[in-house]
Amino acid sequence: MAKRAAPEVNAGSMADIAFLLLIFFLVTTTIETDSGLNRKLPPIEETEPPIIKEKNIFQLSVNKNDQLFVKANGNDGEVIELKNLRAAAVAFLDNGGGAGDEACSFCRGKKDSRSSDNPDKAIISLQNDRETKYKTYISVQNELIAAYNELRNREYQRLYPNDGMNFVEANKKYIDPRTTDKKVKDRLKEKLEAVKLLIPQKLSEAEPKSN
């Protein structure tokens, strides 16, 4: 018998099938957001609030029209724009006006005696109105976290200049599941904890005002 070549399969409709599947996945795809601002809520048990010097508090309140009002550094309070909030928070945290035991060796601020003693003492207190929009709240939170991150980055780079990373990048690497080497992880954790201890996030939120 003569050798016959197998007839070629017609693949012309392959593209159509692939297109059909493609369109199905295009329609069903929702790129899920799985990132956000991590916060920790305070436990509910009532403890006596510690006595804090007024100069160590950065009192920030947001009213129902999403306007920001800040009272700190011994002034009577002023309206502040959201875009200026980060710089104001950094200036407050980094002030380092303390003396003696409360002196701050690494602060680069103005050392104003009417502002915070050191980053460990400095507290940012946030008060919302019940009518405040969530997006404003998130913006404010974002700017305050950014202020802390700015200082933590600076300190991380000052303490560990050979890492070639800043605090945020180091934290990212620590969280990343691809970082599997336990030694690397432990070392990162140690450094992160040291910086966190230097500049703790002391952000207290008061019960929102209702009217």
Binding site: A11, M14, A15, A18, F19, L21, L22, F25, L26, T28, T29, T30, I31, E32, T33, D34, S35, G36, L37, N38, R39, K40, L41, P42, P43, I44, D66, L82, K83, N128, D129, R130, E131, T132, K133, Y134, K135, T136, Y137, I138, S139, Q141, N142, E143, I145, A146, N149, N171, K172, I175, P177, E207, P208, S210
Partner: protein
């Protein structure tokens, strides 16, 4: 002479589309890999606010989601105040504690302390609702929370 003429006879040759399926398949695989099927059907508007100081949520199985926002247009008979959605249905603020307990019960014992509540709240919702949610979470001792946001400039929220 005729040798040269012949070539012009055929007109424009057809474009070869043999590699088209390959291109389409490539796109297809991209979308297949990138797709996450939605767990819950949203019954509320859920336009998340933007932020840029975000951290990634590491492990999906440690996270449970609380949605809030005003009912979407097909449920507009429920009014236009922001509401909470848990799993696939609307919920009341009083259902939250039961929800958290159920989520905890579904987790392995050693992972229970790591439960993170992700708050997916619409940007137009007001803080009253959010702080009520936070209060309930505190009562149930679920203290790790995450405000889920889109990546972007926070000043652009206004």
């Amino acid at each position: 002479m005729s040798k040269f003429k012949k070539k012009k006879d055929g007109g424009i040759p057809a474009v070869n589309t043999a590699s088209l399926p390959d291109i389409v398949f490539m796109l297809l695989f991209f979308f297949m890999v990138a797709t996450v099927m939605r767990q819950n059907t949203l019954m509320i508007e859920n336009k998340l606010p933007q932020a840029n100081q975000v951290e990634k949520l590491a492990k999906k199985d440690l996270v449970s989601y609380i949605y809030a926002g005003k009912p979407s247009s097909q449920y507009s008979n429920l009014g236009n105040h922001a509401r909470i959605q848990l799993n696939d249905k609307f919920a009341d603020i009083s259902d939250l504690r039961r929800f958290i307990r159920e989520e905890r019960d579904n987790m392995r014992e050693e992972l229970k302390p790591f439960l993170t509540m992700a708050l997916k709240v619409d940007s137009e919702a007001n803080m009253g609702l959010v702080s009520d949610i936070k209060q309930e979470l505190r009562k149930e001792n679920a203290l790790k929370i995450n405000y889920t946001t889109r990546q972007g400039d926070a000043l652009g929220n206004q």
